[in-house]
């Protein structure tokens, strides 16, 4: 079954993704409007992946995190760096490892 890809980003990043064929882009302006849109996207059926930039996710803050915890298997939400390349200092994966395994573990290989 095929699913659509959606991007939530600032205008320029969104333009880049549009060039790659991600037609459904949502340009972030206000927090409330984006949250409403995000809810709508999470509830709809035909969407496979949502890309959201780190800076927007950060701006949405706790509301975003709560939605991530409550969401179903689909759509997959992936946070990406925007055009400035900004990535939060806390590595989310590391965070998950610490929570589940109970210890910070550094995996060798990769970066």
């Amino acid at each position: 079954m095929s699913f659509k890809i959606v991007t939530i980003a600032d205008a320029e990043t969104a333009a880049g993704f549009a060039l790659a064929g991600v037609r459904e882009v949502y340009i972030h302006e206000k927090k409330e409007a984006t949250l409403v849109k995000l809810d709508e996207l999470l509830a709809s059926e035909g969407i496979g992946i949502i890309f959201i930039t780190y800076s927007i996710a950060e701006e949405l803050g706790f509301d975003f995190k709560r939605r991530m915890r409550a969401k179903k298997a689909l759509p997959i939400v992936l946070r990406i760096p925007d055009k400035t390349g900004w990535v939060p200092k806390v590595d989310e994966l590391q965070e998950i490892i610490r929570r589940t395994v109970g210890a910070e573990i550094i995996v060798k290989g990769g970066s």
Binding site: M1, S2, F3, K4, I5, A11, E12, T13, A14, A15, G16, F17, A18, L19, A20, G21, V22, R23, G48, I49, F51, A73, L74, I76, L78, I80, P81, K83, G85, V87, L93, I96, I97, R99, T100, V101, I105, V107, G109, G110, S111
Partner: protein, 212 residues
Amino acid sequence: MAKTIGVAPTRMELLKLKQRVSLAQKGHDLLREKMDALVIEFFGIVKRIREVRAGTMQQLSSAYRALSICFAMQGTIETYQAAREVTKVAEVDISTRHVMGILVPVVEAKPIERHALARGYGIHTTSSTLDDASREFERALGDLIKLAELEEGAREIALELEKTKRRVNALEYVILPNLKSMVKFISMRLDEMERENFSRLKRIKAMLEGRE
């Protein structure tokens, strides 16, 4: 503090409790094995994520660079216009695979990289920097889709791992000690009754012998 209130110190109860202890023990062992398997799976995925992520981020940043050049060379409005004209839509196929009873998504991207003519904007009015930017973004998108699959898998496994861990701990630190202390309580009580009975019989015997 162990719970011993409300347990009738009878042999029946003891047998039942012993059965429950062995069942809990078995469940605990099974869950523990499941947890170990999940941890192995989880770290396999984490390792792959690290590798894929590094490559993806590099690709993405070069895509952004190409896009910036395009914005500068061709003009902002023209680039937005071209982005709006892109016709072919990138889609993904998503199926699932089982890992220890958890559904992990498997994402397959339909071919994303396209020929410059197939993108939908007019090549007559646009510059080659736009083609570069599009190509870079198509590549980045392919990588990102792969990364999304892996991260979602890791998330699902981590959630299950957390749940399993909680269950193992509950069994190990609450339920099993409770049951064991109940078993101990009952067997002590039964032994005590045994001894009481023994001394009573002795006494009766002595009384009977005294009467003769």
